[in-house]
C-alpha cells in the first residue's frame, strides 16, 4: 500500500496510521485530544459497526468508537 495522507474514516479495518492533523473547526476535536487522539498518535482501524457506522479504532491501548462524519475530519499519515 502506498504511503500518504488519508483520513481516519478511509482507513480499512486492520490498517493503521498516525494522526497528522485535525481539519476544520469542530468542537469534537478538543474532546478527542483529551481522550488521547493527538497529532502524532498511532491509530488502528478495527472495524465498522454492522450497519456501516460508527467506526471502532484502537489507540493508546484502548478501543474508541466515533462516527464516520467525525473521523473524516482527522487527517492520517499512513506508512
Amino acid at each position: 500500500m502506498s504511503s500518504g495522507i488519508t483520513c481516519l474514516s478511509d482507513l480499512k479495518p486492520g490498517q493503521s496510521g498516525v494522526v497528522s492533523d485535525f481539519v476544520g473547526a469542530n468542537t469534537i476535536h478538543l474532546r478527542l485530544m483529551e481522550l488521547g487522539l493527538l497529532p502524532g498518535t498511532a491509530v488502528r482501524c478495527l472495524r465498522t459497526a454492522p450497519m456501516g457506522d460508527p467506526l471502532e479504532v484502537e489507540l493508546r491501548g484502548y478501543h474508541l468508537s466515533l462516527r464516520k462524519a467525525e473521523a473524516a475530519t482527522i487527517a492520517i499519515q499512513t506508512a
Binding site: 469534537i28 478538543l30 483529551e34 450497519m51 460508527p54 471502532e56 493508546r60 491501548g61 474508541l64
Partner: protein, 712 residues
C-alpha cells in the same frame, strides 16, 4: 494545652473527606464498594454513576473517613452536567460542601496514558492525592510490568497498586489514607508562558475563604478553558466574566490553538511517565476482547447475537419466572383466605382482604419477572456488552437524530424511566438532553410489566405453546414503545428542539466477567425498592382506593343487618355509588371510544399515580363487585361482563388497553423527576399532555379500527 496542639486535636477528631475520582470503566465503583462496603451499581458502561454517592470507610486505626464517589470522567474540563458536578465538588463550589481534604484518583493501569491525563489535571488542583493503580492483573496478562515505586517518585504522591475487583491492595490503600501528611504535587506540566501569566492574574478572582491558591488557579484555568456560552460562565458576576473574556481573547491572539497546546503538554508529560515506568516483557497478543468482538460485532452475526440476546431476555422473563409467580400467587391466596377466616364479616375484613391483600398482592406477584429483567440488564452492563449494543445500534440512533449517549438513558428506561432520565445528565447539550427526557417514558418500564402480563394472560388463555405467543405480544409492545420513542425523538429534534447533529464518541471497554456478588447485591437492592414501593405507596393507594370504591355506600345499606349487607356488597351498586364509581361514570365518555367501560376508567384514572396501580385497582374493583370469586385476577377478569352483558375484557379491549399503556405517561415519580431535571413545570406538563394525546389517539385507532374490520 497550647493553641497549636489544640488545633491539631480538633483536626484529628473532624471526619476527613476523600473524593474518589477516575475515568469511566476504571473500576472506580468496585473500589468504592471495596472501601465502604456500601451497595452500589457496578457497571461497565460509561456514565452509570450519575448520582453523587457517599460512604464511610475506616482508617487502619478505626477512624471514619467520608468518601464521595464522583461520576467517572475523562477530563476536568466539564462538558456535561455530570462532569460539572465533579468539578463543583472538587473545587468546593457547591454551597455547604467544602472542597475535599484529599483525592483518591483511580488509574486503570491497563489503560495508563488516558488515565494519567486526568491525573495530571487532578494533581494541579493542589489537593493531597493518592493514586490507586488498578487492574494490575490485566497489565500482567498483557505482558507489561509497571514500576509503581518509580511512578510515585516521579509524581511525588503515593501510588498504591490494587485489584479493586478482588479486594487486593485495599489494606495498603487504607494505610495511605490514614496518613495525615499526604503530599500535594502540582506543577508537573509546563504550560506556555502567556497561559501561566493569565492564570496568575485571574486566580485572585477565585480565592475563597480557606481555599488554597492552587485551587483558585485551577478554577481560573477551568473558566479560561470554558467555551463561550458554557453554563459554567453563567455562575460568574459581571467584572469577573469580563476579565475572563479579555484574558481569553488575548490568549487567542498570542497563542493560537492554546487549548490544544494545554492538552498536548499534559500528554507529553504522561508520555515521559509511561516511558520511565512501563516495561514490556512479553510480545503483544490479541486480547480476549478482540477475539470475542470478532463475532459479537460481526456485520451479520453481531446483529443475530443482539437479537438473540434481547429475544432470550424476554423469553426467559416469561418461562423461567412462572413457577416463582405461581408460588407467590398461592401464598397470597392462602394469606387472604386465612386472614379472612379470622376476621369478622364487615368493612374491616373487606378492607384487609379485598383492599390491602388483593391490591398489594396483585403487584408483588410480578417480583420474579422484574428481578429477572434487572438481572439481565445488570449482567449486560457489567460485562461490557451494553456499550457494544450502543455501537451496533448507533446508526439507527443517528438517523433519528438522537445522541449516541441517549442510548443508555433509553435502555435504562426499560427498567424505570426515573433512573433513565437521571442518566441523561451525561448528555452535553441541553436540547439533546431534553429530547431524550421527553421520549424516555415511551420505553417499556417495569411498572408496565404487571399491566401487560395481566392483559396478555386475559387475552390468551393458557395452553400449549402459549409462552411463545405471549412472549411475541410482549416483544411487540416493547418494540412499539421503542419505535414511538425514536419517532418522537426525530420529530422533536426536527421541530421543537432543533440543534446540531449530535456526536458519538464512546469507549468500548474490554469485556469483563460479571462479579456475581455485586450483580446479586444490585438485584437485592432492586427487589427491596420494589417491595418497599409495594409496602408503602401501593399499600397506601390500595387503602385509599378501597375507601373511594366503598364509600359513600348506598343510603339504605346503613340500616340493614349484616346478612343483607353482604347481599348488598355483592351488588355492584356499592362501587357505582362510591366516589371512584362516580368519577369513573363521569369520565366514561372520554374513554368509551377506546372500548373501556366505567370500571376500567376507574383503573385508568388510578393508574396515573403509578401504572401498576391499574392492576391493584382492578383487583380491588372486581373483589368488591364479586365477593364469591376466589380465583386469580386473570380468571376473574375473563369472566367479567359489561353492563350490557358483553364480555368486558374482549381481545380488542385488551389490545386497546395495552396500547394506551404503551404511550401514556402514568407515573407521578417521572413527572416529579422531569420537573427536577428541567427545572420547570413546563416540560413535565407538556410531556404529560402530548403522551396522553398520543395514547388516546392510538387506542382509538386500534379499537375503532378493529371494530370496523369486524373484530369484537
Amino acid at each position: 494545652m497550647s493553641e497549636a496542639s489544640l488545633e491539631s486535636a480538633v483536626t484529628e477528631t473532624r471526619v476527613r473527606t476523600f473524593a474518589l475520582i477516575g475515568n469511566p470503566n476504571s473500576g472506580k465503583t468496585s473500589l468504592f464498594n471495596a472501601l465502604t462496603g456500601l451497595r452500589q451499581k457496578v457497571g461497565n458502561y460509561p456514565g452509570v454513576t450519575v448520582e453523587r454517592k457517599e460512604g464511610t470507610a475506616y482508617t487502619q486505626h478505626g477512624k471514619p473517613i467520608r468518601i464521595i464517589d464522583l461520576p467517572g470522567s475523562y477530563s476536568l474540563q466539564p462538558r456535561s452536567p455530570d462532569e460539572r458536578i465533579l468539578v463543583d465538588v472538587l473545587l468546593g463550589r457547591l454551597p455547604g460542601e467544602p472542597a475535599p481534604d484529599a483525592v483518591i484518583c483511580i488509574v486503570d493501569a491497563s489503560n495508563l496514558e488516558r488515565n494519567l491525563y486526568l491525573l495530571t489535571q487532578v494533581l494541579d488542583l493542589g489537593l493531597p492525592v493518592i493514586v490507586a493503580l488498578n487492574m494490575m492483573d490485566v497489565v500482567e496478562r498483557r505482558g507489561l510490568r509497571i514500576d509503581a515505586t518509580k511512578m510515585a517518585r516521579i509524581l511525588g504522591v503515593p501510588v498504591v497498586p490494587i485489584e479493586a475487583a478482588r479486594g487486593k491492595g485495599i489494606i495498603e490503600l487504607r494505610v495511605a489514607m490514614s496518613r495525615t501528611d499526604l503530599p500535594t504535587a502540582q506543577g508537573h506540566v509546563p504550560f506556555p508562558a502567556p497561559i501561566t501569566t493569565a492564570v496568575k492574574e485571574l486566580a485572585p478572582l477565585f480565592v475563597r475563604k480557606g481555599s488554597a491558591l492552587p485551587l483558585a488557579q485551577a478554577e481560573a484555568r477551568l473558566f479560561l478553558g470554558a467555551d463561550e456560552g458554557h453554563d459554567l460562565l453563567e455562575t460568574l458576576a459581571g467584572a469577573a466574566l469580563t476579565r475572563i473574556r479579555l484574558a481569553r481573547q488575548r490568549l487567542d491572539r498570542e497563542v493560537p490553538g492554546w487549548r490544544s497546546e494545554l492538552i498536548t503538554a499534559r500528554y507529553a508529560f504522561v508520555g515521559e511517565v509511561v516511558r520511565d515506568t512501563v516495561h514490556r516483557f512479553n510480545p503483544h497478543r490479541p486480547s480476549r476482547t478482540d477475539q470475542v468482538d470478532r463475532w459479537l460485532l460481526h456485520p451479520v452475526w453481531g446483529i443475530v447475537a443482539l437479537i438473540a440476546v434481547m429475544g432470550g431476555l424476554f423469553y426467559s422473563i416469561f418461562s423461567l419466572a412462572v413457577p416463582f409467580m405461581d408460588a407467590i400467587d398461592g401464598m397470597i391466596g392462602w394469606l387472604g383466605g386465612s386472614l379472612g377466616g379470622l376476621l369478622p364479616e364487615g368493612d374491616l375484613k373487606s378492607l384487609v382482604v379485598d383492599g390491602v391483600i388483593a391490591g398489594v398482592g396483585g403487584v408483588i406477584i410480578f417480583l420474579p419477572q422484574i428481578l429477572m429483567l434487572f438481572f439481565f440488564i445488570s449482567l449486560l452492563e457489567s460485562t461490557g456488552y451494553m456499550a457494544r449494543a450502543a455501537f451496533i445500534l448507533d446508526r439507527l440512533m443517528n438517523k433519528v437524530g438522537l445522541h449516541g449517549r441517549s442510548f443508555v438513558p433509553l435502555l435504562s428506561s426499560y427498567a424505570c424511566a426515573v433512573p433513565g432520565i437521571m442518566a441523561t445528565r451525561t448528555i452535553e447539550s441541553f436540547k439533546d438532553r431534553l429530547v431524550t427526557i421527553l421520549v424516555a417514558p415511551f420505553m417499556t418500564c417495569s411498572a408496565r410489566l404487571p399491566v401487560y402480563l395481566v392483559l396478555i394472560a386475559a387475552l390468551l388463555p393458557p395452553g400449549e405453546h402459549r409462552a411463545f405467543q405471549q412472549a411475541g405480544i410482549l416483544l411487540s409492545l416493547y418494540m412499539l414503545g421503542t419505535l414511538a420513542a425514536l419517532a418522537f425523538g426525530m420529530l422533536f429534534k426536527r421541530t421543537l428542539l432543533k440543534g446540531a447533529a449530535p456526536t458519538m464518541v464512546m469507549e468500548l471497554p474490554p469485556y469483563r466477567l460479571p462479579q456475581l456478588k455485586w450483580v446479586l447485591l444490585e438485584l437485592w437492592d432492586r427487589g427491596r425498592i420494589f417491595l418497599r414501593r409495594a409496602g408503602t405507596i401501593i399499600f397506601a393507594l390500595s387503602i385509599v382506593l378501597w375507601f373511594l370504591m366503598n364509600f359513600p355506600k348506598p343510603p339504605e345499606a346503613v340500616e340493614l343487618d349484616t346478612e343483607t349487607a353482604i347481599v348488598m356488597e355483592e351488588d355492584p351498586s356499592v362501587l357505582e355509588t362510591s366516589f371512584a364509581g362516580r368519577s369513573g361514570r363521569f369520565l366514561e365518555p372520554v374513554f368509551a371510544p377506546l372500548g373501556y367501560d366505567w370500571k376500567m376508567t376507574v383503573g385508568i384514572i388510578a393508574s396515573f399515580a403509578a401504572r401498576e396501580v391499574f392492576v391493584s385497582t382492578l383487583a380491588i374493583i372486581y373483589r368488591v363487585a364479586d365477593e364469591e370469586d376466589t380465583g386469580s385476577l386473570v380468571e376473574t377478569l375473563r369472566s367479567q361482563e359489561r353492563d350490557d352483558g358483553n364480555v368486558a375484557f374482549s381481545p380488542l379491549t385488551c389490545l386497546s388497553l395495552m396500547v394506551f399503556f404503551v404511550f401514556a405517561l402514568q407515573c407521578l415519580s417521572t413527572v416529579a423527576v422531569v420537573r427536577r431535571e428541567t427545572n420547570s413545570w413546563r416540560w413535565p406538563l407538556f410531556q404529560l399532555a402530548y403522551m396522553f394525546a398520543v395514547a388516546w389517539s392510538a387506542s382509538f385507532i386500534v379499537y375503532q379500527g378493529g371494530r370496523l374490520l369486524g373484530f369484537a
